[in-house]
């Protein structure tokens, strides 16, 4: 089965590193004054004209909720990612999720376990889940 890699970025200051991350995976990134120009740059630079999969390599932006912690935001978006990139939403379904901007916690571990993760590894900027 072809790998389907997805990333969730809850770092409001992630900025223009987005283009490199989105080159080979679909990135869900929080909208912020720093991130929006980077999102626009990717969107404007990747219009190929023949791409039928909106959830392939590229970017989806999401709005943060007021006073929401990065942990709560990540758990919330995990559900949306599961819906879009899970067995019923995407073929193939996600095989790897990279989370950037929040450390692994018990709550997040449970959240990603509940959407199917069977393996998790902390990284310098967050963690990676696989199944």
């Amino acid at each position: 089965m072809t790998a389907h890699r997805v990333a969730i970025v809850v770092d409001r200051a992630f900025g223009f590193r987005l283009a490199a991350l989105a080159a080979n995976r679909h990135v869900w990134i929080v909208e912020s004054p720093t991130n929006i120009p980077a999102i626009r740059q990717v969107w404007d630079g990747t219009a190929s004209g023949d791409e039928e999969d909106p959830l392939g390599p590229g970017v989806t932006s999401f709005a943060a909720k007021e006073s929401e912690s990065t942990e709560a935001m990540c758990a919330r978006v995990a559900d949306d990612v599961a819906e879009h990139h899970g067995e019923q939403g995407h073929d193939p379904p996600w095989s790897e999720l990279e989370i950037v901007g929040v450390p692994l916690s018990a709550r997040l571990r449970q959240a990603f376990e509940e959407i199917g993760a069977t393996w998790v590894q902390p990284t310098a900027e967050g963690f990676v889940c696989r199944r």
Binding site: A47, T60, E87, I115, A117, V120
Partner: protein, 300 residues
């Protein structure tokens, strides 16, 4: 010969009398489902008792051939209303549904339990509901299961193994699996520690939070729609499902709509160059696969 249904009924009733029932309550996002219903019928949970969603009396009992006053579970049949009195609420045998929602809100790990109008998870052969509530006797069931096992080994009821299986099914469905022991994957492999990573307890597809995502109704006969709501009862998404024997669940998703009540997010349609914020439709027939939702695709 004893059958599983009556034996479970006796066990459950006895254990309830002993006041060791445990109600499993979840107040998280509720999922509801329907078959070929227009979207405007979706928003209220009250609408889910619609006879258009299901048919039959729910437990295979021929209403015309038995005493209509005292029937299944020993409940009284009210000939004036046509309902069975289950104490906490009334059951309408014509549609196989309670007429009011269960105070037990269901277990998110068990999608069938989230329909608060259904009778015993739509599986009356396996479960019973003497009170009108969905009360689980989880710790006691384990004890009862062990005792039944000994009884079976000593030459007791040949059906004991089946009953024990049903009991442990109940426990599993209530999400009581150990989180410390990684269970086998669907292919039988047990996930292990890899290259510094840490294995977590594998969650089967459709279990846990994933169960709250839009899923097909595997009991549906053909193309149908399902939807989900948030904790305020607003429809956050709905999907159309087409029969597909190649798919493990028998259906594949056609169109899915993220409504105005979904978490706000914006996709980029790479074919049209259009930014597509919520509400939008993931529509394989649309150029680029995603488009703005039309008015008639959105809840009022």
């Amino acid at each position: 010969m004893l059958t599983a249904g009556p034996l479970i009924y006796v066990l459950v009733t006895a254990l309830q009398v002993a006041s060791i029932t445990i109600g499993v309550h979840m107040d998280a996002e509720t999922r509801v489902r329907g078959i070929n219903l227009p979207l405007e019928d979706a928003p209220g949970l009250e609408d889910q008792a619609s006879p258009r969603t299901h048919s039959g009396n729910g437990y295979g009992c021929d209403e015309t051939a038995v005493d209509r006053a005292n029937q299944y579970n020993g409940r009284v049949f009210d000939s004036g209303t046509g309902f069975h009195d289950y104490g906490a609420r009334m059951y309408w045998p014509e549609i196989g549904r309670f007429i009011s929602p269960d105070t037990y809100q269901g277990d998110i790990a068990n999608p069938a339990s989230l329909n608060r109008y259904s009778y015993v998870l739509n599986n009356p052969y396996k479960y019973t509901d003497p009170t009108g509530h969905m009360a689980f006797v989880i710790p006691a069931l384990y004890v009862a299961g062990a005792e039944l096992s000994l009884w079976c080994m000593s030459g007791g009821c040949q059906r004991a193994a089946t009953v024990i299986g049903a009991l442990f099914d109940l426990v599993d469905q209530a999400g009581m699996q150990s989180a410390n022991v990684p269970p086998a994957n669907a292919d039988g492999a047990v996930p292990g520690r890899e290259a510094g990573g840490e294995a977590v307890a594998a969650t089967p597809v459709l279990m846990g939070k994933g169960a709250n995502h839009l899923q097909p109704d595997t009991n549906a006969d053909g193309a149908h729609s399902t939807w989900k709501t948030d904790d305020q009862g607003r429809v956050t998404g709905h999907a159309e499902w087409m029969p597909n024997p190649q798919h493990p669940e028998g259906f594949e998703q056609g169109k899915r709509v993220d409504t105005q009540h979904a978490n706000k997010h914006t996709h980029r349609n790479k074919k049209t160059g259009q930014d597509v914020p919520t509400p939008h439709a993931h529509d394989k027939s649309a150029p680029g696969g995603v488009r703005p939702a039309t008015k008639d695709e959105l809840p009022k």
